[in-house]
Amino acid sequence: MSRTGRRSRAPAARISSRMAVLLACFAVGFAGLGVRAVQVVAFRDVDAAATGARAALQDQRERADITDRNGVLLATSVPSSTLYADPQEIWDPVETARALRTVFPHLDEAALIRKLRSKSRYEFIQRRLTPEQKHAVWMLAQPGLRFVEDSRRVFPQGTLAGHVLGLSNGEGRPLTGIERALDDRLTEPRGGAGPQTVALSIDSRVQHVVEAELDAAARLHGAIGGSAVMLDVRTGEVLASASWPVIDPNQPAGRQPTAAQVNRSSNALYEMGSTFKAFIVAVGLNDGVISPDKLYDARQPLTIGRERINDFHAQNRMLTVHEIMSHSSNIGTARIADDVGAQRLGSFLGQLGLTEPLAGELREISRPLVPARWGRLEAATASYGHGIAVTPLAVTAGFAAIANGGTWVRPTFLARPADAAPPTGRPVLSALAARQTVDLLREVVAHGTGKGADVPGYAVAGKTGTAEKPRLDGPGYDTNRRVSSFAAIFPAHQPRYAILVLLDEPKGVAVTGGAATAGVTAAPAVRRIITRAAPLLGLMPTRTLAAADTQPQSPAP
C-alpha cells in the first residue's frame, strides 16, 4: 500500500509543479499584455499624419502655390466639386434640368434633359463648382444629383501675369507658362509633406503698373498687340512681363482669344528697329573703334550693293556718335557697323543672347531669326535693328547687360534668395564702354528722340525704335505697319532696372499729331511706368531740395 501511495503522490507532485510553471508562464504573458495595454491607452503617441483624414488632405494638395517675390499669392489650389447626375434616380428630368439652369444659366436645357433621361448611371453636368454653386445645387433638393470632390487651380489676381503663369486645358492640365514649365516641381512632394511653394521673381505691384500702362498705350494707339518687360539688371530677375491682349488663366485655353494666347514677351519675334543701335555703339566703344565724339559722314544716304540706307530725320551733315544716337541716324550706325566688322557684330549679338533662344524657365521661347551669314549689308541693317528678329525679353536682357556694367545675366522668372550672391553672368563689355553707352542713352532721353520717356529725378536712359514690318504679300517692308518700342535703363547714374515697351502696329492719334513712332507711343508709356513703379521699388528720386526751384517737391501733408 505504502508503495502504491508513494507512487500516486509522486505523479501528483510532478503535475502540480508543471501546472505552477505553466501558470507562471501565463501570468508573465498576461502581465506583458497588461503593461502593453496600459502603455497603448496612456502613452501612445498618435501619428496624426498617418490617419485617414490628414492623408486625404495631403493627397488633395497635389499642386503647390505660386507667389510673387513678396509672397503675394498668384496661383493656388482650392477644393472644388464636379457635379454629375445618376439618371436612374431622377424623378422628373425636365424639372431637374430647369432647376439646374437656375444655378448654371449657360447650360443648354435640351441637352440637359437628354442627359437626365439617359439609361446610364453617370452623366457629367458641370466641373469646377465653387462652394457657392455647390450649396446652391444642394438647395435645389433634386434627387439623383451627386458630387465628386476634387481640386481646382485658381489665379486670384485674375489676368495679372497671366502669360507668365500660363494657360491650361479644360481638364486643368497646364499647357503653357510657369504652370507647365515647373509642373514637376509644383507637384513633387518635399520632405514627406506636400510640394513646396514656388516664388516667382515677379513683383505683382510692378506687374500691375506695367500691364495697366501697356493696356492704356495699346488701346490709345489701336495696336494689335503689345509687350512690356522689366528686369533687375544685377540679378536678371524678371520683375514684370506683360503681353497684350491679356489672358485670364482661370479660363481654359479654348475660351481665350487666339490673338491673346501668345506670350509676346518671350514667344514673338520682332525686328526691333533703332533700339539695336545701343548694341552697335556699345561694341564699338568696347572695341575702341569709336569714341563718343568720333565723326561720321551722314551727308548722303549710304549705298551697300543694291541697298540704299537713309535717315528718317536726315541731318545731311557730319554727325558725332552722340548725335547719331540722339537723331537715331541709320547712316551713322551703318558706318559704325563697317568699323566694327560684320563678324564681330554677329558674335557680339550672340554674346548678348540675341542669336539663340533664351534657355530659361519658360518653354514658350522663340528662336531668333538671324542672318544666315554676317556680311557687310547684314551688319549694316542689323545695326539699326532690321534683318534680325528677336524677342522683347532678349532685347531687355541685352540692355540690362549694358546697365550693369557689361555682364550679360540670363533672365529668370524665379526669385533669387535675398542672401544669394548675384549671378556670375557673362562679361560682354568693359565697364567703361558700358558706362559710356548709358551716358549716350541718357542723352537720347534728355535731348533726343526719347524725350517722352524722361522722368525728373530718375534719369532715364533709353533708345527709341520704330521698325516697319515685313510685307505680307511679298518681299520688302510695309510702310503702313510698324513696331514701335522703347528700351530704357534707370536710374542712369546707378542703373538698377531695364525696361522695354513694345507696341505692334500702333496708329497715330490726335494727341500725337497723327504720329505713331516710338517717341510718342512707347516712350510715354515707359515714362508712366517708371513714374508709378519707381516709388514702389523704393527708388528715391535723385533731385535735391536745391533743385526744387525748378522741380517742385510736394510732400504729402
Partner: protein
Amino acid sequence: MTLARSTLLGSACLVILAVALYLAKTEAERVRDSVERMERELVQETKAVTILEAELVWRSGPQRMETAARALGLGSITPDQLVALSDLDQVLSPEGGPPGEPTRAAPPAAGGAQARPAPASSEPAAAPSRGEANP
C-alpha cells in the same frame, strides 16, 4: 490546495487582464475617433482657409484697390512726393515748405512763414515729336 489556489489566482488575473484589455481597447477607439473627428474638422478648416486666402488676394488685388482708390479721389505716388528722411527738416522749414501751404512747423510768432508759390513743373512735355523710323 496549492493547485486550487494557483488556479483561482490565475483565473482572477485572467479576468482582470481581460477587463483591463477591454477598457484599454474601448478607450483607444474613443481617442482614435476623437482624433479623426478633429482631423476632419482640421481638413475642412484648412480648405476654408485656402479659399479665404484666395478670396483675400482677389479682393485686395491691385486692380480692385486702384478702382477703389480712384473712387476715393486717391492716386498713385509720384516721385515728387518722395523725400529722404535726411531732407525732411528742409522740406518742413520755411525755405523748403510745401508749395501753396503754410509751414506747419513754424509758429505764427516766428514769422508765420508762408510757403512760396508753386514753381512751374519742369517735367518736359511729351512732345509729339515724330521720333524716327527706319527704312
